[in-house]
């Protein structure tokens, strides 16, 4: 018989975590290293101890709980993150941590001993909203980021990550690095995209994560009186910026099937109804499963920005902000997830993740894979984020069955 989790307890646990930092509108406001984050960490630590896991916290606040295996093999690692976006949803991150916890509880209940040890994890500051960058804890752990540099990251009040880790008591004693070689990493997360929902799927088998290229353009126009300056005397930074916004809506349609491009932020100086914009800064971000398309998108948008600046007779500066190569998950992890969904008789689909996840960094350390839960309308990073308990449960069972397979896979 295929393993399934205790549905009632699973849903209760999801609701319990959602109360810690829960908002009036049913969302979650649990910023990394805030008092709410401390509260949910304390709760999670208690739950791990109650499940007889040996708990350790590393010096970057990443929390691990270990359940020993029958044999001295490399452990498997399961988890996600308990921090949230400002006024975000209750599923993003937390679902993956709760599913991992429920998996070890289920093993305990059924007295199942696995060959490999199992570790579950709550990564510090996945969201990157209070402190940048995103995926901070898993990045330090995987050696992608430097510990001291990340300690020094500040929030908008100038408070550092290290100060907040100390304040909330989660600057642990373990080194922020893999404590051992790991066999594999599995992460359950909501899709945060509409594909599974639009296609009426129970669960997603994640085959990889798109790469991204992020940057910004600043256009330098000339501030002038909006009434007294004839149109042909103007050097309007915002007009040039608007041209690029328009082109970023169009560029993806000329590149790949899955290419997306976004201008998420626009800042304009001086920003008065009565003054021609002197300076306009727009960010851009493109994502695609292939590096070639990302390079092409970046080249194209730089050309567009230069052409737009030339039309207004102004200067433009380009700043590259982030680049991440696409991730292709390891066959054995992807197969384990696909087989689990099939064994559970779920209607599953292969999906490529449009967002980054801690699995991106874990993939640097060991084989990795992911399970996606259906997101209603693909909404996330908002209090309206929603996944039905049915879909949460299907995804959690898929994670559990896949994890059990890997935990008994000797290789």
């Amino acid at each position: 018989m295929t393993l399934v989790l205790n549905r009632e307890r699973f849903v209760e646990t999801m609701k319990t975590q959602a109360d810690i930092g829960g908002t009036e509108n049913g969302g979650l406001h649990r910023l990394a290293l805030s008092d709410e984050d401390k509260a949910v960490r304390d709760w999670f630590s208690d739950q791990m101890e109650a499940a007889e896991l040996s708990v350790r916290v590393d010096e970057f606040g990443n929390m691990f709980g270990r359940r020993e295996g029958a044999r001295d093999l490399e452990p498997i690692l399961l988890g996600s993150h308990l921090d949230s976006q400002p006024y975000g949803g209750i599923y993003d991150g937390a679902l993956g941590v709760v599913a991992a916890l429920e998996f070890v509880r289920e093993l305990n209940d059924r007295d199942i001993e696995t060959d490999r040890p199992i570790e579950i994890v709550n990564w510090t500051n996945e969201e990157g909203s209070r402190f940048q960058p995103t995926l901070q804890g898993s990045g330090v752990w995987a050696g992608v980021h430097d510990l001291e540099e990340q300690y020094a990251a500040t929030d908008e009040d100038g408070v550092t990550v290290e100060e907040e880790l100390e304040r909330i008591g989660y600057k642990g004693s373990e080194p922020a690095e893999p404590a051992t070689d790991y066999d594999s990493y599995l992460e359950l997360h909501i899709e945060q995209g509409p594909y599974l929902d639009a296609n009426d799927k129970d669960v997603g088998v994640v085959t990889g994560i798109v790469g991204l290229t992020w940057g910004a353009f600043t256009f330098f126009g000339e501030a002038n009186h909006s009434g007294a300056t004839p149109m042909h005397h103007r050097s309007d930074a915002m007009v040039a910026a608007a041209d690029v916004v328009t082109q970023i809506r169009r560029i993806p349609s000329t590149l790949g099937e899955r290419t997306v491009g976004t201008v998420g932020s626009v800042e304009i100086e001086p920003g008065s109804i009565n003054v021609i914009p002197e300076q306009a800064t727009i960010t851009y971000g493109f994502r695609d499963p292939t590096v070639e398309v990302l390079h092409e998108a970046e080249e194209r948008v730089i050309q567009e920005a230069e052409a737009a600046a030339e039309r207004e007779g102004i200067e433009v500066e380009h700043e590259s902000r982030a680049d991440a190569d696409p991730v292709y998950f390891d066959d054995r992890c992807v197969d384990a997830v696909r087989t689990a969904a099939s064994d559970l008789e779920y209607d599953a689909a292969d999906v490529f993740s449009g967002g980054v996840h801690d699995a991106t960094h874990a993939h640097e350390v060991c084989d990795a894979g992911m399970v996606f839960a259906t997101s209603e309308d693909g909404k996330s990073h908002t209090e309206d984020e929603y996944t039905s308990w049915d879909d949460c449960y299907s995804a959690a069972n898929t994670l559990a069955v896949a994890a059990l397979e890997l935990a008994n896979d000797e290789r």
Copy 2:
């Protein structure tokens, strides 16, 4: 012989006022009702008293100085404003007040008695940057704005105009209304546009002020993850807003020779590199010498905004923020300025003002006219604003000669 001012004293007086709130970069930061505004008011009051003017301050802080005439006729009124934009220039406003002061000093020096009394004025809060609206003091005085409503206007810290008038000691005892019937109002101001400079003119004879229509559009899209949301699932508020910015660059070229259109402010929510914009608010402003063109421009931009919203499948709200009809100055004032420039042998040109001025409101009370000083490159509302002392002096002499003509015009 045609009257000319004492050039040395005139330049010294301009420099003295420019030191009060002067910036490192040679600009001026003298926001309405700030400590710097109080300081320049105290200085101006002393100068008026030293020139033997009878000084009065009305309950909205407008400052008047009166020099009696030989006969009991309606006085002429001359002036402008001493407040500045944030990090603005030293000429905008102050030049008109200093020229008026130098005119009465010159009359004193030469023992000239005019038929009509002469009043000079410093209007409160012309700029409208710290407290809205612009032209606040002259608007209250002319009965265009309600005194109590304008007292209640707040700056971004929530401080009211009335509180600040009391704090700096410039809530005067006189009613904020014309103390008498006035014969005419003349104002010298920098052009704040490039026309005189581009055409190498000494001085401008202002025939009127363009009308304006101001408003804002807010687009309501859907916030979603910038990576996981396919392009065809997006409702991007900023993409729609950018379309309108582009159209506002184009619309004027299809309307009038002098039509201008500007998007000065863009605000975007949530404004994260990683989130599709949920909300974008842009302001717009059109100016033109004719009401018909303004109406047409407003209609056109509303159509463009609705079309842009429809393309993104989102909603848009339109908000009208201000409308002002064009002003056509009175022939006798325009003629007095034109004749003065001619008598002084300046190369003058008729110009239509692209910006509003206190003369807009004074025109409601009595005949009005304006003199423009050449603005280098038309720059203003910036520390780079520049008018040569030659051009300042030419404009001030033009004002003086025109004012002397009106002050002796019995009608």
